[in-house]
Amino acid sequence: MKQGNILGEVWNLPRGTSEIAGKDPGRYLQFNSHMVTFYQQTYGELSRFFLALREGKLLGARCRKCKQVLVPASTWHCPTCDFVEMEEVDLPHRGVLAATAPITIFPSASFIGEAPFARGYVDVATDARIASFLPSRLRTTTGLPRPGIFVKGVELKLVFEDDRIGAIRDIFWVPMSEVPARLRQKKPLLASALNFKNPPAPKVRKSREAAAALGEALAAMRALAGKVTKSPRAQKDLGGRKHVLGVTTGGGGFTLKIEKGALRVAADLAKKTDFVLVAEDPAVFSRWVADGSLTDAAVEGKLWLPSREAFGVLPILDRLPRSVRRDVK
């Protein structure tokens, strides 16, 4: 896990005041300020849990009386049995997702750059009648998180980061079905044993309908590319960016090239690309041109992306139809 400083260079503002316009007439001032403290926060009684994570173990607290298991051990005294002292229990490295997990695409300021990510609650002490769930980061080896993967009841495998500091992000869970059989019993299973870098692209079904839809999508995208040459707003959106995006669809492949403020569409899949996106239905791209959104298609699971970097390009592409509409009649 990267260490580095807590706050980067961007987390600052120049000293001073500035004028600001409101809804009512009149002159108003605002001043730059901050309200923050640093912490060297003790984990206190929770240290046992985080020390165990460092050693590749998942600890819970079990009550001898009511048998409930707390995962993580949020307290060592059972709140339902007159605060009787609880015992340490070494938990399995497998669990079940307790409810379908939301996927965050608009993170808060501290997590910009990590989206999209999934987090949810994992039922680990499945043998116990009463148990709490572990709040968890969820990852997949099949690309970015998308609907249909982290659904209620899916079996999960606990994975440990190779370098651990004693923090909840030392661990995460992946669907058991994505873990090779020989690694499923491994305790602890380290992240380096799984391949997150080059996820295999999903297979697409070829069809005549998709080929026709691709024809329409290509025509729409070419029309868009033509309008970009007349749209200062769109050129500004693309300004300074250089990407070669390959796309595989059920109707065949194509390539989107962004360079020098222009968008170019090629009706074949280029040999050298930054990323290859996959959409079984090429109409995803027609809808994008018609003021839709590729980000939404990705969020809905209709457009597959190999990486966060690819996801980061989508908002720029999403701006184009609107910019063009405002500039080109």
Partner: protein, 414 residues
């Protein structure tokens, strides 16, 4: 307990940002209007309860201390309440207890928020920092480091609900129609933040996802800066003020509250993922105390973070069956403001839901949002002669805080 009445209410304009005012002035505006509404001078007030959610937003620890003198509350008891999104509810509950106990005869309850002075230098906008500040409602050990946001937290409840009752909240068109209705209502709120906006179901369905598949951009509540005040009085004082103003008192009939465990899990005292138990228990307690059933209540002002959560909450509170909350639209349970006009009452079997526009169209200044709801409920009861109303508040991560108040207008038509 002694009888408690609402004898005055006032709110500020609801704005995305108040450049023209600090939170000091917002609280004073709300106080001025509340006292003027009841024709009461500050000196006549016995004590004050402040609803302020978050010190980081106000940029001052003990923010209420700066308000005492400005609001004319010097040398009176002052209590600050902070309970996440349910801050307004819990502040009102505290004010009600003060009167009900006989400790005070006239209590000002005033709540508000200054949220969007926050600024994120990275994106050069306020929003990611506002979200981050609210995300600090999660603990620093387990939950916050995972990157959870407030949206995720309410959405997790909706997803758990959908796992148990598939197909109910998942129909985007049903949710979009509710938005359309809330928008029309918000257009009629003279203080509402989005009173000049028109949002159609079609626009909702075309708006971008925040979290698929239950939350699009046009389905979410706002961040608002503003404040609201409610004046609570003992029976004797209420009669006296009512004589002065000519406005009948609104009586507090039932108050219910329930906070679920922070720890999510299975069995025991754990918070379940498929249900907002806090909403259900709080409402049931308020009904029991008031001696009413949900079917007796034609008006609800509820805390709607998102439309999907509005549906679940109305299910938990018994206005529609759990798993079949889409009856709100399908069976016309949600009254149509176009048919009601400005003075009409919902038909039998119908409920007027968030005539203020709710937190999605009206306003959501966290510390006073539930007072905003109470302000609206009183206004609608008086002008439509509605006998009973329910005011709901929810808050904290995973909606674990819940509150409900049943109020009565004796002059209402049953």
């Amino acid at each position: 307990m002694n009888r408690v009445a609402i004898v005055g209410a006032g709110i500020t304009d609801c704005r995305g940002r108040w450049v023209e005012a600090t939170y000091w002035d917002l609280f004073q505006q709300a106080t001025r209007r509340t006292l003027a509404d009841a024709q009461v001078k500050a000196a006549e007030v016995d004590s004050v309860v402040y609803g302020i959610y978050n010190d980081i937003f106000e940029h001052q620890a003990i923010p209420e201390s700066a308000l005492t003198g400005i609001l004319g509350m010097a040398e009176k008891p002052g209590t600050r309440v902070t309970s996440g999104g349910a801050t307004g509810f819990y502040a009102m509950r505290t004010a009600i207890m003060e009167v009900a106990s006989g400790l005070s005869d006239l209590v000002l309850c005033v709540g508000g928020e200054k949220a969007t002075d926050c600024y994120d230098p990275q994106s050069k906008t306020a929003t990611p920092m506002v979200i981050d500040t609210i995300a600090k409602s999660w603990d620093p050990f387990f939950e916050y480091p995972l990157g959870a946001t407030a949206s995720d937290s309410y959405m997790q409840m909706c997803m758990g609900y959908d796992d148990r009752y598939p197909g109910d909240i998942g129909d985007g068109l049903v949710r979009a129609k509710i938005i359309e209705m809330l928008c029309r209502q918000g257009n009629k709120n003279p203080f509402g933040q989005r009173r000049d906006e028109t949002v159609t179901a079609e626009q909702v369905l075309a708006s971008r996802w925040i979290i698929a598949p239950f939350l699009r951009l046009l389905e979410a509540c706002m961040y608002t800066e503003g404040a609201a005040g409610i004046l609570f009085a003992s029976e004797k004082k209420a009669r006296e003020i009512s004589e002065r103003t000519g406005v009948p008192p609104i009586w507090v009939k039932g108050v219910g509250a329930a906070n679920e465990s922070y720890q999510v899990g299975r069995g025991g005292s754990h918070k379940p993922l498929h249900s907002i138990v806090s909403d259900r228990v709080a409402a049931e307690r308020a009904y029991a105390m008031a001696g009413v059933r949900p079917s007796d209540i034609p008006l609800v002002e509820l805390h709607d973070a998102f439309v999907a959560q509005l549906m679940v909450t109305l299910g938990e509170m018994g206005f529609v069956p759990l798993g079949k909350t889409r009856k709100l639209v399908d069976d016309g349970v949600m009254a149509d403001i176009r048919q009601l006009g400005d003075a009409g009452r919902p038909a039998k079997g119908q409920v007027l839901i968030n005539p203020s526009g709710g937190l999605i169209f009206g306003g959501h200044f966290v510390g006073g949002s539930n007072m905003f709801s109470m302000w609206s409920a009183r206004r609608e009861m008086l002008r439509r002669e509605i006998p009973l109303a329910l005011i709901h508040g929810t808050g904290a991560i995973n909606a674990v805080f819940g509150g409900a108040i049943v109020v009565e207008f004796e002059g209402g038509v049953r």
